[in-house]
C-alpha cells in the first residue's frame, strides 16, 4: 500500500498468528497419506491405508460412505436450489413490487434472520412429524432451507436493488407484463447474485450437522457431517489419521469451491451472514 512503511514485521506477526491454522491445514493433508510414530511430529512412512474407508465394506451397523456422500449431495444441492428459487422471487417482490404488508414482510425477514431455528428444534420436530417428514432427507432439506431463506431473500433483494429502474421501465413501455420484464430483463442482471447465493447455501447445507443429526437419525438419511462425528465420538477408535482422511474427503467440494471462488466468497460473506 504505502511505501514508506516497512511491511516485513507485520508479515512476520501475521504469519505467526496464522500458525495454528497453517499447522492444522498442513497436517490435515499430510496425515492422510502418512503414518507418524507416537510422540513425534514428523511423519515417517507413506501409506494409503487411511483411505481404506472408501473401499472397505462398512463395519456392521455403520453406514456406507458412498450412500452417505450421495445423501450429502442431494441435501446440499436441493437446499441450494430451493433457497435460490424462492429467494429469487421473494427478493424481487420485496425489492420492486408494490404489495400490502411489504414493510412488515421486510422487517420480518430481518428479524427472523436474528434467531436460528436450532433453538426451536423440538417444535420443528413436531412440524416434521405432522407433515410426515421426520427421519427423511426431504424434511431436513426444508428446515435447512427455512433457516437459510431470510438471508437469501435479503441478499437477493440487495442485488435487485442495484438493477436500474430504467431497464424495467423500458420493458413496460414496450408492452411487456411485469412478469415478463422480470424474467427477460431483470433476471439476467442478477446472475452474479444468484450464483453467489447458490454457492453459499450449498456450503451452508454441506456443513450442517445438528439438523440431520436430530431430525433424520435413520441410517438411510445420514450425511457426511454426522458420519464423521459418529466416527470421532466412538471412544475406542481415536485414529486421527483416519478422521482426517474422512474429513478431507468430506471437505473436498468445499476446498474446490474455495480454490475456484476464493475472491467471490469473500464478497458473499462480506454481504453479511452468521458469525
Amino acid at each position: 500500500m504505502s511505501s514508506n512503511f516497512r511491511s516485513w514485521p507485520m508479515t512476520l506477526l501475521l504469519g505467526f498468528l496464522s500458525l495454528p491454522i497453517i499447522v492444522m491445514m498442513v497436517y490435515l493433508f499430510v496425515d492422510t497419506v502418512t503414518d507418524t510414530t507416537a510422540g513425534s511430529l514428523i511423519p515417517d512412512r507413506f501409506t494409503l491405508e487411511h483411505w481404506r474407508f472408501l473401499f472397505d465394506a462398512p463395519q456392521a451397523g455403520r453406514s456406507n460412505i458412498w450412500s452417505v456422500t450421495l445423501n450429502t449431495f442431494i441435501f446440499a444441492c436441493s437446499t441450494s436450489a430451493i433457497v435460490v428459487m424462492t429467494s429469487l422471487t421473494s427478493g424481487y417482490a420485496l425489492s420492486r413490487l408494490n404489495m400490502p404488508y411489504r414493510r412488515l414482510l421486510l422487517g420480518g425477514v430481518l428479524t427472523l434472520h436474528a434467531f436460528p431455528t436450532v433453538t426451536l428444534i423440538i417444535s420443528i420436530f413436531l412440524m416434521l412429524q405432522m407433515t410426515g417428514l421426520y427421519n427423511s432427507l426431504l424434511g431436513v432439506i426444508l428446515v435447512k432451507t427455512a433457516l437459510e431463506l431470510p438471508l437469501g431473500i435479503w441478499v437477493m433483494k440487495g442485488f435487485y436493488d442495484t438493477v436500474p429502474w430504467e431497464i424495467e421501465m423500458a420493458g413496460l413501455t414496450d408492452g411487456a407484463s411485469r412478469f415478463t420484464v422480470w424474467r427477460r430483463l431483470v433476471l439476467p442482471q442478477v446472475h452474479p447474485g444468484l450464483a453467489a447465493l447458490g454457492l453459499f447455501s450449498f456450503l451452508a447445507a454441506w456443513s450442517e450437522y445438528i439438523l440431520p443429526q436430530v431430525l433424520a437419525p435413520d441410517g438411510a438419511s445420514q450425511v457426511l457431517a454426522t458420519y464423521l462425528q459418529n466416527l470421532i465420538k466412538d471412544d475406542r477408535a481415536p485414529d486421527f489419521n483416519m478422521f482426517k482422511s474422512v474429513g478431507l474427503f468430506y471437505a473436498m467440494p468445499v476446498m474446490i469451491i474455495y480454490l475456484i471462488f476464493n475472491q467471490k466468497l469473500m464478497n458473499i460473506y462480506g454481504g453479511g451472514t452468521k458469525g
Binding site: M10, S18, I22, T86, N98, A114, Y258
Partner: protein, 434 residues
C-alpha cells in the same frame, strides 16, 4: 387488488409457506410447549390412562381411599361365562369347552398363573401370543391395562365394581393419566434453578469474550492486511477465511487434534519439558480459551472481510496526503481508517451478539459444555435439557421455555437494531405503480 399486488404475493408465497411451516409455526408451538410438562416420560402426542403400582402409590398420597385403591390393585382373572364366550368366538369352541371343563369358576391372581394352566390344555392355540390374548379375555381388573380414552378407562374401572365419588374419580383420572398437562412450573424452575443462572452467566461471558475477540482480531486482520503488499494480503485473507468455510465437524476435529493430550501442542511442548495434557479440557480456563478461539477464528474472518471491504473504499489520495503531512501509521489508523469502520463495527457487533447468543454448534462439538458445566451456554443448556443428555430424560416443556427466553431476547434485540440501522430508510417505495 392490483395485479402487481397479486404478482408480489405470488412471488412471496413459496418463501412464506416454508418460513411459516418451519419458522413461525415452531415459534408459536414453542410458546405453547413452554406451558406444558411435556417430557419423554409423558410423550408428545398425548397420553393414556393406566393404573399400575406407581399410580397406586401416588393415589394413596393424594388421599384416594385406601380400600378402593387396594381393590383396584388386584390383578384378577376369573374363568366365567363371559370370558368363555369371548374365547369361543376368537379361538374356537374346543378350546373354550376345555377351559370350561378344567378351570370353570377359578380365580387367578396375575396372568402368569392362568397362562400356565392354559398351556396344559390340549386344544390351546399354538402361538404364545394368542394364548396370552385368550388369557386376557378373562381379565376382570384394570391393573396394568392402558386405556386410550378417559371414557374407556372409567368404564373399565366401573366394571371392577369399585364405587367412585366425584372427588375420587377426579383424583383417579388425574393420577392415571400418563400424558402431559398444562403448567407454569417451567418458568418457576428457570428462575429458581442454580443451573440456569450458571448458564446465563456463561452465556454473557461467552458472548462478551468472543465478540471482543471477533471485532478486535477482525480489525487487526483487516488493518494489517490493508498495509501489506497485495499478494501477501491476499494470502493471509485466504488463510483466515478457512475457519469460516470448513465444515464445523472437521474444523473442530482439527482443534481436537491440536489440543489433545497426544496431539500436536502436547508433543510440541514436551520438547520444552511441558507435561502432555489435554489443552482443551484440562481446566475451565483451557476450555474457555479454546471456545473463544474456535468461535473467534470463525467470527474474526467475517469481521476481517467486512472491514476490509470498507477500507477499500478509502481514496488512496487521502492516505498519501496524510503521509505527506507526516502522520505516522498509528495516527493514520486512528484518524482515517477507524472512522471509516464505524458502521461496519457496529453492524458486526450487533449481528454477532445475536448469532453468538443462539448458536451452540461449535461448543457442542468441542467441549460439549465441559469440563463440568463450565462452558455450557444457554442455547446448549436448552439443547441438553430438551434433547440431548446422558440419561435420556428429554424435558421438552422446560426446553421450550428456555428456548423461548432466547426467542424473546432475539426479537427485542432485532427490533432495537432495526431502529438503530434506520430500517425505514432501507424501505424505498417502488417506483413503478402497476
Amino acid at each position: 387488488m392490483r395485479r402487481a399486488h397479486l404478482l408480489g404475493l405470488g412471488f412471496m408465497t413459496p418463501a412464506l409457506i416454508i418460513v411459516f411451516l418451519f419458522f413461525l409455526a415452531p415459534v408459536v408451538l414453542t410458546a405453547v410447549f413452554s406451558f406444558t410438562s411435556m417430557s419423554s416420560g409423558t410423550g408428545i402426542s398425548g397420553g393414556a390412562y393406566e393404573i399400575n403400582e406407581q399410580t397406586l402409590r401416588s393415589l394413596t398420597d393424594r388421599g384416594f381411599p385406601k380400600a378402593k385403591s387396594e381393590k383396584l390393585g388386584h390383578d384378577l382373572y376369573r374363568i366365567g361365562e363371559e370370558g368363555l364366550g369371548a374365547v369361543e368366538a376368537d379361538f374356537g369352541k374346543a378350546f373354550a369347552d376345555e377351559i370350561r371343563a378344567e378351570l370353570s369358576g377359578e380365580l387367578f391372581e396375575g396372568r402368569r398363573d392362568l397362562e400356565r394352566e392354559l398351556k396344559k390344555l390340549r386344544s390351546r392355540p399354538r402361538s404364545i401370543r394368542d394364548l396370552k390374548k385368550a388369557a386376557d379375555l378373562f381379565k376382570r381388573s384394570v391393573l396394568n391395562t392402558r386405556f386410550e380414552s378417559e371414557t374407556a378407562f372409567l368404564d373399565g374401572v366401573g366394571e371392577t365394581g369399585v364405587e367412585l365419588t366425584a372427588d375420587d374419580q377426579a383424583v383417579l383420572v388425574k393420577t392415571a393419566y400418563t400424558g402431559w398437562s398444562w403448567t407454569t412450573a417451567n418458568y418457576e424452575l428457570i428462575t429458581s434453578m442454580a443451573s440456569t443462572w450458571r448458564a446465563a452467566k456463561n452465556t454473557a461471558f461467552y458472548v462478551l469474550l468472543t465478540l471482543s475477540f471477533n471485532v478486535g482480531f477482525g480489525l487487526f486482520l483487516a488493518i494489517t492486511t490493508f498495509y501489506l503488499p497485495k499478494g501477501q494480503a491476499a494470502i493471509f485473507r485466504a488463510i483466515w477465511i478457512l475457519p469460516r468455510i470448513l465444515p464445523p465437524v472437521l474444523y473442530v476435529m482439527m482443534w481436537k487434534w491440536l489440543t489433545w493430550d497426544t496431539g500436536f501442542l502436547s508433543i510440541f511442548l514436551s520438547n520444552f519439558g511441558v507435561e502432555p495434557r489435554n489443552w482443551m479440557l484440562n481446566s475451565d480456563i483451557n476450555a474457555w480459551v479454546c471456545i473463544v478461539l474456535i468461535n473467534g477464528f470463525v467470527g474474526a474472518s467475517l469481521g476481517m472481510i467486512l472491514f476490509s471491504s470498507a477500507l477499500r473504499a478509502i481514496p488512496p489520495s487521502m492516505l498519501a496526503a496524510s503521509e505527506v503531512d507526516g502522520a505516522n501509521r498509528w495516527q493514520q489508523i486512528r484518524h482515517i481508517l477507524l472512522p471509516q469502520l464505524q458502521w461496519p463495527i457496529l453492524f458486526t457487533t450487533s449481528y454477532q451478539t445475536l448469532s453468538l447468543l443462539t448458536s451452540f454448534d461449535y461448543i457442542y462439538l468441542s467441549t460439549d459444555g465441559g469440563p463440568g458445566r463450565s462452558t455450557e451456554v444457554w442455547a446448549l443448556y436448552t439443547f441438553h435439557t430438551a434433547l440431548n443428555n446422558y440419561g435420556g430424560v428429554l424435558q421438552y416443556g422446560l426446553g421450550a421455555a428456555l428456548a423461548l427466553v432466547l426467542v424473546v431476547i432475539g426479537i427485542a434485540a432485532s427490533l432495537f437494531y432495526l431502529r438503530l440501522f434506520k430500517f425505514n430508510e432501507l424501505v424505498s417505495q417502488p417506483r413503478i405503480e402497476q
